[in-house]
């Protein structure tokens, strides 16, 4: 009996492992929301949007806007590294809209035939140096990233923000000495807000979103590291009408205002 208790415990442990290991994103589905469609605007059902992590705050606001404009509509988001989302889309993830933080990841989707039309660049984002509140290490510019005394976090070269960082360092003629190359920009940012790194390169929008814990420092070479953000409706969209409505909202003046407030620049 005791032996069996041990075996059960072990099995339980394994189960926990598998549960803890697969905390996945929302499974996109096209549940038809029962709409009490008002006279002005009908429900658009469920719209599933896959968007770059840096769009989290602005797109969440725009999603709420669309839900308000079209009662009964549900906008679901999956925010992650653009490259990861591109992989999900080309592997057949059922989604309606894709907004990427770089044209190259968008190209992957277009070349796989997964885009319904031509992607439209709707905003641009600029890199900024992020430091913990109070700038404890007195970081002043990109040159500080070359000193090994400082703890430095950058995005991995595989993801758009890492690619942009490479361009900025090339322009500045600085060889950075990073302590870690993170898989997405929010992971970089969290290490800054925890105070575990002295400096990092993230998007301006991320610094704004992080609030008081993180300070941003502009640097002259940022102009060489501007990322274009394209958006597209996906070819296999289960809800093309809703997808188009969301994309239109993002590209509208109303959308531009929300995005600008989050720190994005107009293309």
């Amino acid at each position: 009996m005791r032996t069996r208790a041990g075996a059960v415990l072990t099995a339980g442990a394994l189960l926990w492992l598998s549960l803890a290991g697969c905390g996945g994103g929302d499974q996109p589905g096209d549940g038809t929301a029962s709409s009490a469609g008002s006279a002005s605007a009908a429900s658009l059902g469920t719209v599933t949007v896959l968007a770059a992590a840096s769009l989290t705050e602005a797109f969440t606001t725009l999603g709420e806007q669309l839900e308000k404009d079209h009662p009964g509509t549900t906008v679901k988001f999956s925010f992650a590294a653009s490259s990861e989302l591109a992989t999900q889309i080309t592997s057949g993830a059922p989604a309606d809209v894709f907004a990427s933080a770089s044209p190259s990841t968008m190209d992957q989707v277009v070349q796989a035939g997964a885009a319904a039309g031509d992607p439209v660049v709707f905003v641009r984002n600029r890199l900024q140096i992020a430091v913990p509140a109070g700038n404890p290490a007195d970081v002043a510019g990109l040159a500080d990233f070359a000193t090994t005394d400082l703890k430095v976090a950058l995005c991995a070269p595989e993801v758009p923000c890492g690619d942009a960082a490479d361009r900025a360092f090339d322009a500045a003629g600085v060889t950075p000495a990073p302590d870690t190359l993170e898989p997405d920009v929010k992971a970089v940012l969290s290490k800054v807000s925890l105070g575990e790194v002295d400096a990092a390169l993230v998007y301006r929008t991320d610094v704004i979103a992080a609030g008081d814990q993180v300070e941003g420092i502009d640097f002259p070479e940022a102009g060489d590291a501007v990322n274009d953000y394209p958006i597209v409706v996906l070819a296999d969209s289960p809800n093309p009408e809703g997808a188009t409505a969301f994309a239109d909202l993002v590209e509208s003046p109303k959308g531009a205002a929300v995005l600008q407030k989050a720190g994005f620049e107009q293309p």
């Binding site: 926990w16 492992l17 703890k151 991995a156 595989e158 302590d179």
Partner: protein, 271 residues
């Protein structure tokens, strides 16, 4: 593989036929995703992926760190399992539940938890930094710490179960024959719980080898120092999915080979 296994075997003769489909289903459930990987793997470029310096570096780092983490878990976990199984510490039930916390925590949260304890601004890490100039995050040691943190419960739970199931009369007999405590531990108890210990060690090593969330949070990702194979696979997946499949197969083959090899050896001595 253990006394548990042997007892099951004796039951296996009386296995109700209704259970057979479920057993088959379980096996398929576990194996189909692996089959998927094998089918999708880019066999033509597999050799190139296998021998890319980054992949070899990541694989080496993974094996070294997982092994070190397992050693740490053995050193700390066996005594803890002993306390949980054999002593009358007040609040033992609570203690036992606390041991499983790293299993319940999403690994990324585990990484943040490690920051709050051992990070540069952590409750202990702050003093490590101030007094000794030791900064743990973003080092290879941090990888070992993160892996040990998530893997330790596997060892503790397995060993605790084995210790509770062990026949204490043998230890008592050894004691009446004049053996001292250490001698009994080494020559009676540990051999008795060897199968449970082996199983726990295997689980612990396997969990450490596959660790991703806590590692990338607490140790970051830098080729050669902290970028283990799972992190390397994850990053490769962003750039080149077929290559990522090839790399995960490499990790799979290596871990299965190691575990199969050890099992052979352990079974040889355990019997």
């Amino acid at each position: 593989m253990s006394r548990v296994g042997r007892r099951r075997l004796s039951v296996a003769g009386g296995l109700p036929p209704a259970m057979v489909p479920f057993a088959v289903l379980a096996l398929l459930f576990l194996l189909l995703p692996v089959v998927g990987l094998v089918v999708r793997a880019p066999w033509r470029t597999l050799a190139a992926e296998l021998t890319s310096p980054e992949a070899l570096e990541a694989l080496r780092l993974s094996l070294v760190c997982a092994t070190l983490a397992t050693v740490v878990c053995l050193l700390l976990g066996v005594p803890l399992a002993w306390v949980l199984a054999r002593t009358r510490v007040p609040g033992r039930a609570v203690l036992r539940a606390l041991v499983t916390v790293p299993l319940v925590l999403p690994p990324v949260v585990g990484g943040v938890a490690l920051f709050t304890a051992l990070g540069r601004r952590g409750i202990v890490g702050r003093w490590l930094d101030e007094w000794f100039g030791i900064s743990l995050p973003f080092t290879t040691a941090a990888v070992v710490v993160a892996e040990a943190f998530v893997a330790l419960p596997f060892l503790v739970i397995s060993v605790e179960g084995a210790l509770r199931a062990a026949d204490r009369r043998l230890e008592e007999a050894a004691a009446t024959l004049g053996a001292d405590r250490w001698y009994i531990v080494r020559r009676v108890t540990l051999p008795m719980v060897a199968p449970g210990l082996a199983a726990g060690t295997v689980l612990c090593w396997a969990r450490a080898l596959g660790e991703f969330g806590a590692t990338i949070t607490f140790a970051g990702s830098f080729p050669g120092t902290t970028q283990t194979m799972p992190i390397h696979v994850y990053l490769t997946l962003q750039r080149d999915p077929p290559a990522a499949i090839a790399l995960s197969l490499v990790l799979l083959v290596v871990s299965v080979a190691v575990l199969a090899g050890l099992r052979e050896r352990w079974l040889g001595t355990a019997r």
